[in-house]
Symmetry: C2
Subunit: 497 residues, 2 copies
């Protein structure tokens, strides 16, 4: 039964977010609120993990590192907001130029406004109510309106209560809102949220259908807004013949572990494995992988509808010409057993459905009749592409790595794509259809830039400028001044600027 459409709540949240965004904030309120929220979450760690485990069928020891990532990301964005250099402040002082005008110009990134957050099914903590999108949007200075995920409403509500209290307590009243959403088939709240004129941007982690639907709503507005949608991908893995020869068992074990981690329910799950499978070594690797996948047990999936979708996708892949190599035994309602599929390169090339993510514990082996036929195989655009080599002198590595870089947001050499480091150099993003915004990342400090646009002030008196670009550099930021990075003040004869 569909929940009543919570339009009144949405309108109230959107209006409150708009007002909060217009209000000047006490300096330091945002980082303090993010740190306070991290502390509040940590104080409820055990009960939140129990709640999330109960709703997601993820084990407590799978949720423990995710919990640490959630609070770590909040603290990271507190530090980013406290530092302020993320806003890319740039100053060009007045100067007579040989070409064009030489006005004093200063720019920085400014927050867009209230952000709608649509969290992931598979990371109820790290990409949930208090996850990366919420943390980065708040750090940018944007209020957030989080839509509940119907797969874990109780976890969501507990997180939301803590977020609301932490932010209210730090002077950020109106910066956090949470909209209930109990019926997974009812998309009215999601659509209404993206369509609301007070909403300035949206972050989404989930299926391609969902991401593109929200993007279409955003584009149909009188004033379109950006939707940053991370829509999953098949994350190809290329195994060179020398790697298969040198260490088939090691590679098979590592890959199987990555495929089975969290029962395959990761956006970076390695889903397509390309290798020269007619070689003895390639055959051996495939057999080792098949043994591991075939003997792994069925597990309950994140939600009943996710289990159903997984089984339908496997069936679609089989209809498109993929064969079951191992696994796939019938499982109780809401559960699924891991599956290893295989196909030849001609079938793979001819069947776009085989290029898409199969969200769950599965992978598709693409048998290359020779490793040089890799060049003729599609390499589906993805969040990640992995190249397994026999080491730095493997002659097949350079072209494979170059090809991977052209089709993915992140290239992994001799590793697995699962496990995303939270750091400046991380790109958790990638070409369409992995995301609809390949110029962005959803992980790491640069994720904050999604919620901003740059603004220039020309010929402004110092006191009308944001502090980040005032002469004295009161925030102590690293700024680009007349083309040079510096934290020196401007207009001080001693600094020469």
């Amino acid at each position: 039964m569909a929940a009543p459409h919570p339009n009144a709540h949405l309108v109230h949240a959107a209006d409150a977010a708009r007002l909060a965004f217009a209000r000047p904030l006490p300096r330091g309120a945002i980082p303090a609120a993010l740190d306070t929220l991290a502390e509040a979450l940590e104080s409820q760690r055990a009960s939140l993990i129990t709640l999330a485990a109960g709703e997601s069928a993820l084990a407590a020891d799978e949720l423990a590192p995710e919990f640490a990532r959630m609070t770590g990301t909040l603290r990271l964005f507190a530090a980013v907001a406290r530092n302020g250099s993320w806003a890319r402040p740039a100053i060009d002082t007045a100067a007579p130029l040989s070409i064009g005008p030489g006005h004093d110009c200063r720019s920085m990134l400014m927050p867009l406004g209230p952000v709608a957050v649509f969290g992931a099914s598979n990371f109820p903590l790290a990409y949930g109510v208090c996850g990366g999108d919420t943390a980065s949007a708040l750090a940018a200075g944007c209020p957030v309106i989080v839509k509940e995920h119907p797969a874990h409403p109780r976890t969501g509500r507990a997180l939301a209560a803590l977020a609301r209290a932490a932010l209210d307590g730090c002077g950020l009243e109106g910066f956090f809102h949470y909209l209930h959403h109990e019926d997974p088939l009812d998309h009215a709240t999601a659509r209404a949220l993206v369509a609301h004129p007070a909403v300035a941007a949206a972050g989404f982690t989930g299926s391609r259908v969902g991401g593109l639907a929200l993007e279409a709503v955003a584009r149909a507005r009188p004033t379109p807004i950006p939707v940053f949608a991370e829509m999953g991908s098949a994350n190809p893995v290329i195994i060179t013949p020398a790697a298969a020869t040198d260490r088939a068992d090691d590679v098979a074990r590592t890959l199987a572990d990555a495929i089975l981690l969290r029962h395959g329910q990761q956006c970076t799950c390695p889903g397509i494995i390309l290798l020269h499978g007619t070689l003895d070594a390639g055959r051996g690797l495939i057999e080792a992988l098949a043994r591991r996948i075939g003997t792994a047990g069925a597990r309950r999936m994140l939600a009943p509808w996710i289990a159903d979708a997984f089984l339908r996708r496997i069936q679609d892949c089989r209809s498109a010409g993929a064969n079951v190599l191992a696994g796939g035994a019938p499982a109780p309602e809401g559960h699924a057993a891991p599956v290893l599929l295989s196909t030849d390169v001609e079938t793979f090339r001819a069947s776009p459905t085989l290029h898409d993510e199969c969200f769950g514990p599965s992978a598709l082996v693409v048998n290359l009749p020779g490793f040089d036929s890799l060049a003729a195989s599609p390499l589906p655009p993805s969040l990640t592409c992995t190249v397994i080599t026999a080491g730095p002198s493997d002659p097949d590595a350079p072209p494979a790595v170059a090809r991977a870089a052209a089709s993915a947001g992140r290239v992994i050499i001799d590793g697995v794509p699962t496990g995303v480091r939270v750091c400046e150099s991380m790109v958790h993003g990638g070409p369409f259809p992995a995301t609809n915004t390949p110029h962005t990342t959803a992980v790491g400090p640069r994720a904050i830039e999604r919620w901003c646009r740059p603004v220039t002030w020309q010929h402004s008196p110092d006191h009308l400028l944001p502090p980040a670009i005032q002469n004295a550099n009161p925030l102590g930021l690293i700024r680009t001044v007349n083309g040079r990075l510096t934290s020196d003040p401007v207009g001080d004869p001693a600094s020469g600027l």
Copy 2:
């Protein structure tokens, strides 16, 4: 009569651009080509200006600074490409972390692929065939395919011949293509270009109708691509009562000059003037402005269809409730006389058509019954918003500047929006509908970022990394290493990195 559709030429250009993009380039080829092109253009300066003047009806002394901007921008992007730090290289070395994996990760911006360039009608040089989009796309490493502008095909072909020769001579064969387009009513080439699978992005400067049409084509592709469309704007000017009181004549003269510059055919032409017009001072300023606009003569416009569109827009504004204060006398075919319109704030609020750009020599005065009614007036999202004050202590300045920053890409205080400085802190962009991509700028070094997406390499041997993120820092770039900006190498015990 429609020109035959140059599909064969387009397909040839797109294929050649795709092949060129896939080819490794000699180091330094791109900056050398950009500098060589600037030199080649300068060697033909007089004849190019004569050609452009003949086709655009712009005067030679209007085109001279534009010519300098074109070659200056090419040289700027040569310097940007030579430096390489624009790619935002970031390195996080392997480290045991308390939260999540600590892999060695390195990222930088990578070029998207062939870029389609749609130049502007109003800047045949600076935003034309060898203008800012071409220069920044080439600097990023993207081949360009320029669609001819039907308002100045001879200028375009002369520029294209020089570009082709300069790039070919520097080892960039296949990096420059030019498609003829003689019939302004035929959009088939433009659509086919954006739809071509080899094209990875597009830059457009022109009308909203044109920009949105190309964006729609780009989004309907199996793999959508970004279109960066700068679609003009009304560029509001807010005049405080104290400014009107202190220096009405000065403000009127400066504004009229900006409105009439290049006969109003600038994307930053000040098109809406908001002031307290019932004050004596406000009335005086409006009268002074009306005298100047009313006595300025008719001029030939850039193209006959641009003159027609201008006259239709003025008629639409009159139908929407704007009155003619001065000017607007009938003019010969292809010409137009400047016009000053006025309206009251209620009509302005009720008539969205009055919020849009009126491309040509005109401005609309919005009479505020009191300056505090500014808050109740729309401030159309624009490339620029200007605030004219009586100086730093003007009490009306702070709220007006804050409002301007929320609705524009660039805020000008006590100046005019025409005259865009080419510098790091320049934002030539802005909220929809001024552009469809408010996170970008079309002017200044950061314009290069439009043609790129970030890529991470994880756990890569040094020799498989792009030089920008190799340990030794062979290009001498400023990089973010473990969160700190430095040009030090990595892995050298002396650097501590």
